[in-house]
Symmetry: C2
């Protein structure tokens, strides 16, 4: 142990689009685009401390039992039997809160990757994902894995089982484009969960499972039209649509303009449409923008492709 | 129109294993093995008549509104707008009734293929499947597609949607063996449906969909261990297990002996175990036989692989 300042390690974790229609709570993808950044350095004091947050407008808690980044890193240290280790974190939010883009997941996953590197640990991906899920539990009440798994692994990830965790990387078609628009309203994940039906009919179970099977098949054969056909959700989307002003107009307009699919990302309000070329994707983004502007909730959006997961971006910064 | 006797066309449709764990009502496969045979010839009298049934022990109805073969062919003629056509059928049952091997589906599908050939029609596969589903409606009360689709198409079939029908052929691994045992008790499909839960929790929906996604992925990558891991069903199998004396013992013994998976085929009582080589499959078949013999319901079984669908087997027989 010495008092010399330890080097900082910086890591980045991307935004994620989850659910993807029939994949509620078990499917998500990482995008090439905005994300959260976390710096970590070893500390002589045991435990995890978050010493600074920027980019959140002062809304996130610094407390180590409330912030998703701290909770995730503490859960990881506990899981590997190293609770005596100490780490200091700084979080720079690049993602809007409560947007449906996996903001809490990105903070947790960037923190995990930065901390693992700063502490020079070897930690398996399942342990990382389960630790990040503890961050989700604090952020929204349930340890749902469909943002944290793709945020860590990148690409398109099926969470095939959670107890024990079983994750599967699915093929991502090169020509898949997402038009992602976040309207200017918030949907808290906890609130979006409270509107879900507790129980559904057996016929709905069959439809949901069959569509997820079709979606996985479509990714394997690279059939984007079939992928779009599979991205239909008559359980979760109908329950949440009314929480997002203008969503149904946005969806109808996007589908009429040739979107392969259009639905809510995660708990919303972020809405995404799929296209098989960049030009169509840009046109769809304008359509989403017009619909949400017309509904009085203008926001911001971008065209993305599927991208890699959380990674170390630099070391020994300051 | 002439009074000369018209040539008979004979067609065969195979047994099918349906549900396959998480694929309740949306997944099934055809086996290389026993099946039903139907002879058809054109008649000058409009409508469908079943003039003989053999192999059923006198249990099946000859009436054209009750027999699944007649109902399916009549539905097909109606769907293509040719209700004025007449066809005579003879059915030879090779499959036991109420066994969970798609007995009613095999009769309907063999009848459709024989009739289409005898009448020299061109009928699309979706129309054939939907017509065969009408036979299932008469046989058990619901037009479930998971036996008729593989019985017609062969291989492993995902019924991705039913309205309109969307069927997908999935890859069948060459080294997949099924140990299929039909204990000496009957389970009526209608009774097996009455024990199912009407509604299930949202968490069960997620598990079922995620497992079906894993199953489709496993078939695409040819990973039989993963396939076995995916064949878990905590919705339908637990509700039906008590209908089959000895099932739980058979399942436990098969899994302990290295089965990749072991569950009920369709509504049961037929039970199947999966293996990745023929020797293991034969050993598993003995284990199933021992368990059901011990439970007082000895029956019969065989080792099968995935096989082709319904086809014409001969013409101008008599």
């Amino acid at each position: 142990m010495s008092d010399a300042p330890r080097p900082w390690v910086e890591a980045y974790a991307p935004a994620t689009v989850s659910n993807l229609g029939p994949g509620f709570d078990c499917l998500g993808l990482a995008v090439n685009g905005p994300g959260d950044t976390v710096r970590a350095r070893r500390s002589d004091t045991p435990g995890v401390r978050l010493s600074a947050i920027t980019g959140d407008g002062g809304r996130l808690p610094l407390g180590s039992e409330e912030n998703t980044a701290c909770v995730a890193v503490a859960a990881m240290l506990s899981a590997i039997g190293r609770p005596e280790l100490g780490v200091e974190l700084e979080l720079d939010k690049g993602l809007p809160l409560g947007s449906g883009l996996g903001s809490s997941a990105a903070s947790a996953c960037a923190a995990l990757v930065a901390a693992v590197s700063a502490l020079q640990l070897e930690v398996g991906i399942e342990t990382m994902i389960d630790a990040a899920r503890e961050g989700e539990r604090v952020a929204c009440g349930t340890p749902h894995p469909d943002n944290v798994a793709p945020a860590l692994m990148g690409g398109i990830v099926l969470i095939a089982a959670t107890d024990p965790l079983r994750v599967i990387s699915l093929p991502a078609p090169d020509s898949l484009y997402l038009s992602i628009y976040t309207p200017g309203c918030e949907v808290a994940t906890a609130a979006a969960r409270s509107v879900l039906p507790e129980r559904v009919g057996l016929d709905a179970v069959v439809r949901q499972a069959a569509r997820l099977g079709m979606l996985v098949h479509a990714l394997h054969v690279g059939d984007l039209a079939l992928l779009g056909e599979a991205i239909v959700d008559d359980i979760v989307e109908p329950a949440r649509a009314h929480l997002i002003p203008g969503f149904l107009d946005a969806k109808v307009n996007a589908l009429e303009a040739g979107a392969l699919a259009c639905t809510i990302s995660g708990a919303g309000p972020t809405t995404f449409a799929l296209a098989s070329d960049e030009g169509r994707a840009k046109a769809l983004l304008e359509i989403l923008e017009q619909a949400y502007t017309h509904a009085g909730v203008p926001g911001a959006g971008r065209v993305e492709q599927v991208g890699p997961g959380a990674r170390v971006t630099s070391r020994a910064l300051h």
